[in-house]
Amino acid sequence: MPKATRQAFGEALAELAASRPQVVVLDADLSKSTMTSLFGKKFPERRFQFGIAEANMIGAAAGLALCGKVPVVSSFACFLVGRLETIRVCAAYNRTNVKLVGTHAGLGIGDDGASQMGLEDLGALRSLPNLSILQPADELETRQMTEWMLDHDGPVYLRLTRQKTADVHGPDYRFKLGAADTVYEPPPGAPLQATLFASGGTVGEAVKAARALMDRGFRARAVNCGSLVPFDEEAVVRAAQDSARLVTLEDHHVNGGLGSAVCEAAARRACAVPVLRLGATEFGESGTAEELYEKRGLSWSHAAEACLRNLA
C-alpha cells in the first residue's frame, strides 16, 4: 500500500523505541508533520519540545548523544540543513550519535511551495565527513533504515517524503548500507538502452518508466539508491557495462545529490558512459506533487523519454 515515508518512519520509530530505552526524540514544533508525534504519545517522558529553534535542538541532541542517548531530531529537510553549521560541528565533527530526520523532501511536498521544499540538503550534507545519508523509497525500506539508523553508532541523515510512495520492494528485501538494489530488471536479452538510478520519492517513477519502455520494446533497468553515503559505486560500474546511458532521477537539485553521486562514481571508475541527470534546477513552486513532477521533468514519462533521447 502506498504510504508516505515520513508516516512509515513515525510508526517504526514508535515501535522500535519500545525495546531501545536510550532513544529520545527532540521536536521543533513539527512533530505532527514529521510523525514523531507517534513516539511522543507513547513515550512522553523521552520526548522534548524545543520550539521553532532547530539549531539549539540539534546542539542539544549532540549533548544527549555524548551522554549515551540516541537522540532523533526531525524537521523539514530544508529547516534542518538551514542549520548546517550546527550539524557540521555538533553532529559530524564531534561524531555524535545524532539521528537527523529531514522530512518533506523536494518538490513532492506540493502546495506549500518553494520555501518549504528541501532541494539542497543532500548537496550540503554529502560534504560532511562521518555522516551516513539514507533515503528510503517505500514503507518496507523506511522501517529497515529506521532500525539500522537507531542501532548504528554515528550520525545519520534520513531523508523522507511528505507524499505517499508506491511499494517497490518485495517482502524479502533487506536494506544493506552502501548497497543499491535493482527494482526493475528487463528479461535477459540485448544490451540495455539505459539504467535509471532513483532515490526516495522518484523510485516509483523510475519503475513505471522502465515498465512503460518494456511495453514499447525498449529495455531499461531501474535501480534504487537508498544508501547515498556510502554510495554503491559498483552499481554504477555494472550499469555502465551493459547500458547505453545512465539516467538519474531525483527530487533534489541536480547538483549535489544522486546525479552527482552517480557522475562521481562514473568518473572515478573511468566509466565511458553518458549520464543524464533529471532533477530540480530551479526553486520549486506550489502545485500538486504530480503536477510538479510533470512540469519539472521528474515524472516517469520524462524519465522514459530521457532513456531514449538522441545523445548526439
Partner: protein
C-alpha cells in the same frame, strides 16, 4: 586548594598559556588569560572529575564554548593530570592532540569539540537533560565569551534551558569586553546582559572574574541551583596578568614573540 594556592596556580597557568602560544606562533592569549582564573577555581575546587578516568559517567561536564581560549583549558587539564605537561608545547602542531580549538576525539578530557561560536550552551542543554533522564547528579558547566553571545543560537539555548527546568546547567560568561573587530560594546552591545538573562528566566549573579573568593562563591551558588539554570556573569580583563596585553584588542589572536613572552612571564611571576 586555598585562595592563596589558587593564586599561585593561576600564575603558573598564565605562564603556561604565554609559553605555549609563543611556541605555537599563533593562538589566542587575550581570552585565555581572561578565563583562566575561572577554570582554575572550577577544576580544582568544584568539578567532580577523574583525570585518570576521563569517561567516568558520573563526572561533571565542562564545555568551553569559546573554544579559542583552549590554551587555558589545556593548561588546566595538564595541571590536573589529564596529560603530561610537556605536551603543552605541541599546541597547534601537526598530529598534536592539542588542536587550535578543542577536539574531543583527540584529547581525553575535552567533552565536546568547539571553536565555532555559539554552540556550546545547546550541547550543555542536552547533557543536562540526559542527567535528568538518568537521574544522575552531575552538573554541566558551560563557559561562553561575551562576543560569542552575539550568536543567535545562544539565545535559542538561553530560552530553552529555563523552560526545560535545567537547574543542573550553569553558564559562565567571560565578559572581557573585547572581540576581534573591537570592543564588544561597539561591535554589538550585549547590555543590559543581566536583565536580558533574567528576562529569559535565568538566575543571574555578576562577579569579578579575577577575584577567587567571588568566583568560588558564585560557583557554589550555581552548583546548588534547583529548578532554574544559573548564569554567572564574570567581569574580566582581556589579557589579564600581562600589562601590555590587558585590554588591548590586538592580543585577541596574536602570539607573543620570544622577547614579549619573556617580559610577560617575568611580570606574571613577580605579581
Amino acid at each position: 586548594m586555598s585562595v592563596d594556592e589558587l593564586k599561585t596556580l593561576a600564575r603558573g597557568l598564565r605562564v603556561d598559556i604565554v609559553r605555549m602560544i609563543e611556541a605555537a606562533g599563533s593562538g589566542h592569549p587575550g581570552g585565555s588569560l581572561s578565563v583562566v582564573d575561572i577554570l582554575a577555581a572550577l577544576y580544582t575546587r568544584v568539578l567532580r572529575h577523574r583525570p585518570e578516568e576521563p569517561g567516568w559517567p558520573e563526572r561533571d561536564r565542562f564545555l568551553l564554548s569559546k573554544g579559542h581560549a583552549c590554551p587555558a583549558l589545556y593548561a588546566v587539564l595538564a595541571h590536573c593530570g589529564y596529560f603530561p605537561k610537556e605536551k603543552l608545547s605541541t599546541l597547534r602542531r601537526l598530529d598534536s592532540p592539542l588542536q587550535g580549538h578543542p577536539d574531543r576525539l583527540r584529547l581525553p578530557g575535552v567533552e565536546a569539540s568547539t571553536g565555532s561560536l555559539g554552540l556550546g550552551l545547546s550541547i550543555g542543554i542536552g547533557m543536562a537533560l540526559a542527567a535528568k533522564l538518568d537521574k544522575k547528579g552531575f552538573h554541566t558547566w558551560c563557559v561562553l565569551g561575551d562576543g560569542e553571545m552575539q550568536e543567535g543560537q545562544v539565545w535559542e539555548a538561553a530560552m530553552a534551558a529555563p523552560q526545560l527546568k535545567l537547574g543542573n546547567l550553569s553558564m559562565i560568561a567571560d565578559l572581557n569586553g573585547g572581540q576581534i573587530d573591537g570592543p564588544v560594546a561597539e561591535v554589538m552591545d550585549l547590555e543590559p546582559l543581566s536583565d536580558k538573562l533574567k528576562a529569559f528566566r535565568w538566575d543571574v549573579r555578576v562577579i569579578d572574574g579575577h577575584d577567587f573568593k567571588q568566583i568560588l562563591d558564585a560557583l557554589e551558588w550555581a552548583a546548588a541551583a534547583k529548578d532554574r539554570p544559573a548564569a554567572i556573569l564574570a567581569k574580566t580583563v582581556k589579557g589579564k596578568g600581562v600589562s601590555f596585553m590587558e585590554g588591548v584588542i590586538d592580543w585577541h589572536g596574536k602570539a607573543p614573540n620570544k622577547d614579549e613572552a619573556d617580559r610577560a612571564v617575568r611580570e606574571i611571576e613577580s605579581a
